[in-house]
Symmetry: C2
Subunit: 327 residues, 2 copies
């Protein structure tokens, strides 16, 4: 079995858990809206991370599935709400929830996915003492994801966002759930304090790397693979690491020209291409790529607390996937 | 000390818990948006219900405060999101969150209040086994509140909603949190199975009575006391018990005339008054009043599982308040 097949077996367990969890409730429209993203694919990075970390520590990764599925539902709730705020029409190659249904239904579906995520986590077969801690940590993490989204939106109104601020934003908005996935995986498997700490760090580093690579894919990805139109982040005015770097490093006419495209939903393909050229000229794309590669390298180093195993190899595979994927 | 003063002492404890809980997070705008409703007053019906039920059973109601505060935060999260969907500009006499801030911030503030509600409940000083059950029950309840809101919105497109359907909707949208408040209060206080069951029923009945009285206050209340414009539910096209009854019982021109006002945001004060007259003529207002009174009567009967105490008297007071209040 190849590494990807071995990952696939675990992914199937997670997918099945999600399918069962989402066959819930009495309202057909709400159920359809809740299922729309989570059952439209998705890489299941967070649940896989929990699963593999526990596997590497105790050999029993399967026990994490309700937790991982819960995290995945929580992640999907944030996607549903974010797409409303960002007025995104596409996600994973399908039309977004608020476009397919309507905005009120999308708000409610997000709320219901949030609740369902906690229901899933409550199923976790761990000591009750541990469950309280896990639930509390997860609630804090979700609140921080919300705070990260707020920062993200506020940044869209500013042309002077610093790298430090960008990192603080994606720490909350993206990396926090990866951190929680890996850390809780280690907690569930009763890892040592060193392992718990290192796995949290590993998740954080991987999450940052993953997000920055997402920013890169927005420009260099292929629509068929990312499921989103090329340059969508730029059109939406997102302060990605690439944009943040460009705003500091582009000068004069080039800067003006880039700023006129940033946040311009109606930017033509040609204008968009010119902006992309500028982002290469300023070195912003390669800056972001190197940044992501460095975080991914450090994330892999953190796995040194794990003894050698197939699961550990798969973790390294998963971390690498953050920067090897095309969508 | 009067009954209201005795309630007030407990309310102060709950208010204080909420103030401390809401001094959270790093983003100023988000924090302000989160505080906007919960710290603008509110009757704290749900936390008071938990508190008093536990007091009546074990004498230690104070222990419920983190749970009650958590429920109050969850209730407030639903208000923030509902007001976006209902396009309501006013709440508790102040401008709504999405009007004061903006819709994205309101969506995020609701999400963050949701998370914070679970953080609060995690603080509850009960056995960890019990906490898992309480958290799961609360997550299910919140998902059902979401489902109730979805039904409410779907009903707005229909002129044939039945009383049975209305009741199923407010069971989820409103009564479920009252049910949970009273039932969990009894669980925390280690009540007997009979007490837990009866208190759940009591909360449910009180919640239904409370909601129907809210429907009545929409027409008969005074704006200064309710904090909302008179007839707002009718203008928004809400299928309240009054509207549901009227749609079945008004005939011919009267029905047509009422339907022309229902959901008409621009209905004049005069048109609104004519619609209100029709709702009295059809007997819909008194039908709803009697309906609420009957539920409140039954809710009070459920307290027979509690031995006599000051807390029990206060529960009866609180139940009565559902139909004695002016806002």
């Amino acid at each position: 079995m190849s590494m990807m097949e071995k990952l696939g077996t675990r992914k199937t367990e997670i997918d099945r858990e999600l399918e069962v969890a989402l066959a819930v409730g009495d309202n057909e429209t709400l159920r359809a809206a809740m299922k729309h993203y989570p059952l439209a694919g998705g890489k299941r990075m967070r649940p896989l991370l929990s699963y593999l970390v526990a596997d590497a520590i105790s050999g029993n990764g399967r026990i994490t599935v309700p937790f991982g599925a819960g995290l995945e539902l929580l992640h999907n709730f944030t996607l549903v709400h974010d797409d409303i705020m960002d007025k995104s029409d596409m996600r994973r190659g399908i039309v977004s929830v608020h476009k397919k249904f309507d905005t009120p239904t999308a708000i409610i579906a997000g709320d219901a996915l949030f609740a369902l995520g906690f229901e899933e986590i409550c199923k976790l077969e761990v000591d009750d003492v541990l469950l309280r801690i896990i639930l509390n940590d997860t609630a804090v993490a979700v609140r921080e994801v919300a705070e990260g989204q707020q920062m993200d939106m506020e940044f869209e109104k500013r042309n002077d966002v610093q790298v430090r601020e960008y990192l603080s934003m994606i720490d909350k908005k993206t990396a926090r759930l990866y951190f929680t996935a890996a850390r809780v995986g280690a907690i569930i498997a009763k890892g040592t304090i060193d392992q718990i700490k290192a796995m949290g760090d590993c998740g954080y580093l991987m999450g940052v790397g993953f997000q920055i690579w997402d920013d890169v894919l927005d420009l260099e990805g292929v629509e068929e693979k990312t499921g989103k139109p090329v340059g969508g982040d730029i059109r939406e005015g997102k302060r990605t690491l690439i944009a943040v770097h460009a705003m500091t490093n582009l000068k004069g006419e080039d800067r003006k020209s880039f700023l006129s495209v940033l946040g311009n939903q109606r930017a033509s393909r040609k204008t968009m291409q010119e902006a992309t050229d500028l982002l290469h000229k300023s070195g912003s794309v390669s800056y972001a790529k190197n940044f992501a590669l460095e975080y991914i390298r450090e994330a892999k180093e953190k796995t040194s607390v794990l003894k050698g195993s197939e699961a550990k190899d798969l973790i390294l595979e998963l971390i690498d996937f953050a920067i090897r994927r095309e969508g």
